[in-house]
Amino acid sequence: MAEATQFNVVDPGIEEGLEKLTEKRKNEVLSKFVSILKKGRFDVYVNTCIHCGLCSDACHWYQSFKDPIYSPVGKVKQTIWEILRRDGKVDRDFIRRAAEIAYTECNLCKRCSMYCPFGIDIGYMMNMVRRLCHLLGVVPLYLQDTCNSHAVTINQMWVKEDEWIDTVFWQEDEGQGEIKNFYIPFDKEGADIMFSVIGPEPKFKPQLIQEVATLMYIAGIDFTFPSFDGWDNSDMAMYVGDFETCERIKRAHFEAAMRLKVKKIVMCECGHAFRSVYDVGNRFLGWKAHPIPVIHAIQLYYELLKSGRLKVVKKIKEPVTLHDPCNVVRGRGVGKYARYVLEQICENFIEMTPNNEHNFCCAAGGGVINCGPIWRGKRVAGNSVKADQIKRTGAKIVVTPCHNCHSGIADIIETYKLDVKNVFLVELLLQVVEIPDELKVEY
């Protein structure tokens, strides 16, 4: 077990923010924040918590370090209770620690809300601490960079419009080597599905665009990608606490679908982007739910297999386990669809324990992995419980249908030297579905 105190990470974003922070600004923001703490949900939560500590075991950070500073209520104590106790008069060291807790020691996975007998939404409280830090300008460097990118380019990774279009064309080109007449339609008005990806896909994993488009092409689906702003569904702004930018990017996303008059949006295998659509971004925009139907890629795969539009011709022989991404499974109950898909395509599907909505977070989500490589060591040490969980299954493949989970679990596999590889669901599906003869390329 790693010692919790061994991490002395100095984040340039946090340090520079603290340097630039004036006393006047600090006092203004904090006094406003204290007034927020004294009303609404916050007031109810603070005055209901009976300090029982029953949320502790829900948190993978606490489970990994067994240090109470990492328990959900411990994090609330170090931030919100302390701000209230000092009536907002906190120093820079306090703000530094609050930013570290909120941005890097909590994944906002909401498992603790489920384990708290009162259902206190600690994830919400931690996100509001992030909001405070954002307003103070004290945000981890890498995370702030993704938010800056959102604000400027409406995507997370500084991808310019021509680069996005070019990447999709490139992937279409690649796909034509496998599938006859394969093409990825851009801006097709009235299509059944607008498929949307996150910024890191064209940036780091362009093959995923090809893979999912191939799957939809084989299934004969009427799909399209937007060529303009709104193609990226990701939303790091909500994790920074920059809710204004969050609104802008969600609006662009929904408006892209409306402009194309599609019947529904299908979100790529990503968790946080999905959360932003059903839980966060929509609310900032004043929508009770998303204004047009939105489903996750897992639901699309389920529908395609269930309806027989995709036929499974062989099964994965190696033992497979599933990591349930918080924002998809605990967030939207998609676990049952993932299980249906895996049971169809795997000979030996093994459940993790605990699983489904009780699954442990990957420790990468909630913007924590986006805080950058300097926090990697701490993040991976803070999730030894996940490594044990994967090890116990004895599986050789762990399916991680979420980008943050995928990268986070890759780090865990590497650090803890687990004999397992992690894949997206689409990668497994493409290995087992039938490609009709008329679509096969003849060489």
Partner: protein
């Protein structure tokens, strides 16, 4: 001092005007606070828009069921103690025959009572549970870390109310002193409810109902 504590005049004061003050403060302030919570939560547009009774009720049911939720099953001792403690805490004061008799003497009304033996056992359970909770606060590090003086204070109120009640009933040492102290602590407990985190007896329904609806209605998963 002991003389005053055991005096008839103190008894008359505690049974008379102080009793009225305690009950009125308890009811009026609780209702006021419930209304205030309802108002302040409705100002936050995202709360009541998502609250759905069917999910809230289902969640209450499972959280009120011993071992009904995963977290209760993960903490079996805490689960047993917390259930026995809360059941005793609520039902003993309401259905104790001695309390009923007092109300009958005052207003001529009464309701069901529980046998004194059962009430005795329940009182001992509350007292033991208080030690259990105290032990948790001292020896379990994640609980100790978030324990404040106020946590000991609210535990002490409950503990002394039941301890003095037990001693008074069994007429150990000086009956009159313990009876007066019992009434005093009981009244302090009633008054404390709306002003301390003992208010969780009411606010539980807000917080649990809301998160249950978020989970059931928006997230489409169970929250237990």
């Amino acid at each position: 001092m002991l003389e005053l504590l055991g005096s008839d005049s103190l008894y008359k004061f505690l049974r008379g005007p102080m009793c009225w003050v305690a009950f009125i403060l308890f009811f009026v302030c609780s209702i006021y606070k419930i209304i205030r919570y309802t108002k302040q939560l409705s100002q936050e547009k995202v709360v009541f828009a998502y609250v759905k009774p069917q999910y809230a009720l289902k969640s209450y049911f499972y959280w009120f069921l011993p071992f009904g939720t995963r977290n209760w099953r993960l903490h079996p001792y805490m689960n047993i103690f917390t259930f026995l403690f809360h059941i005793s805490l609520i039902f003993v004061p309401i259905f104790l025959s001695a309390h009923n008799l007092l109300i009958y003497e005052s207003w001529g009304i009464s309701w069901w009572t529980i046998p004194d033996k059962l009430a005795d056992i329940a009182t001992i359970i509350v007292i033991i549970s208080c030690f259990f909770f105290l032990g948790r606060r001292i020896f379990i590090k994640e609980v100790n870390y978030v324990t404040y003086l106020s946590d000991y204070f609210i535990l002490a109120i409950v503990f002394f109310t039941f301890l003095t009640g037990f001693l008074a009933y069994h007429q150990i040492y000086t009956y009159k002193i313990f009876l007066n102290l019992h009434i005093l602590f009981g009244e302090i407990m009633l008054i404390s409810i709306p002003f301390t985190r003992l208010f969780h007896m009411w606010s539980f329904f807000f917080t649990r109902g809301y998160i249950a609806s978020e989970f059931g209605y928006v997230r489409k998963v169970k929250d237990w």
